[in-house]
Symmetry: C2
Subunit: 192 residues, 2 copies
């Protein structure tokens, strides 16, 4: 293993109740997927009712999808990993949003790739704490100017998953052989 | 301790040589300061010659200042912690830049608070790797639009440490009693 180890304080078995569960992304999710390891999904299902808020960042949305918790809901995910995460095999009645920095539907919040999690978290804090001064105080402390428009998503264009590209692809299919797969697709599925 | 433990792979004694050393910020630096704990400073001094690049984020610049490695150099730091870090007791011949997202001087790079470290790191990668495509590829992967102007620093205004405020303070001193200390100054010194 490269880098310092991070040691969990609890196991899935002895974890306390939570106000918020944040489901991270990462390369490991692809490994879990291939190995049919559903430990995180099982834990999320067992905690869904008792947890007021469940958030995911990047391709962590695939875990929510596979757990069934996104069933009938709107959600988004990493645009680099979009094709992999939104594969119907991970859940077929999810309303995936191709152009969104983050999406909130009920108790579930999902964000786009990596740094989009910071903007979702700002929106989430504003949702919970309203205009309490300390939320913006913290932004000034960490010197971060959050994107506050959930529709701001230049990366949906970069990764060609926006509605425009989806429609264009549908129109052109059968007419042109058009490769909309971004370069290095393999990497995107594995890193978040 | 709240949250998972992070376990270092090496001690100061058995650490290998490094291409890059990144000096983090954080509340602990204030504790080290009060306890005259100079372990990090001593390590940095011992590695300065053999390390091609040394970077600091946020109030981590106080560690570089106290180690003497910023002597005669330009540098910046967290704007919330600016007054504390730049106190001459931490080093009196440092050219602190009050309005800078990051500063590069020789082998040393210093950034402003927390998220400014991301922009410094992008600039650092461009410095090392030039226009190699993968640097921007990674930005697209993590869905981050970096600030590429080192002079972009709205937080120097928020925290009233910019040249404008410094000059205004100098002009008004003795005429008005003017409190330029931001609210909650105590907290800013302790959290990064």
């Amino acid at each position: 293993m490269i880098g310092p180890a991070t040691v969990a304080t609890h196991t899935f078995e002895d974890a306390p109740t939570f106000d918020v569960i944040i489901v991270p992304g990462g390369g490991g999710l692809d490994t879990f997927d291939r190995e049919n390891n559903t430990q995180i999904e099982d834990f999320l299902v067992s905690r869904y009712e008792s947890t007021p808020y469940i958030l995911s960042v990047c391709n962590g949305a695939v875990t929510l999808a596979k757990s069934g918790l996104l069933s009938g809901k709107r959600a988004t995910t990493s645009k680099a990993a979009y094709k992999w995460v939104t594969d119907p095999k991970h859940g077929d009645d999810i309303q995936w949003m191709p152009s969104a920095r983050w999406v909130n539907d009920g108790k579930i919040w999902t964000s786009s790739g990596v740094s989009a999690g910071m903007d979702m978290m700002y929106a989430f804090l504003k949702h919970i704490y309203g205009d309490e001064e300390w939320v913006d105080f913290v932004m000034n402390l960490i010197e971060y100017v959050p994107h506050t428009d959930p529709h701001w998503d230049p990366f949906s264009v970069v990764w060609k998953v926006s509605l425009f590209f989806t429609l264009t692809k549908v129109l052109l299919v059968g007419i042109l052989t058009r490769n909309t797969t971004p370069p290095h697709d393999y990497l995107f599925r594995h890193e978040c």
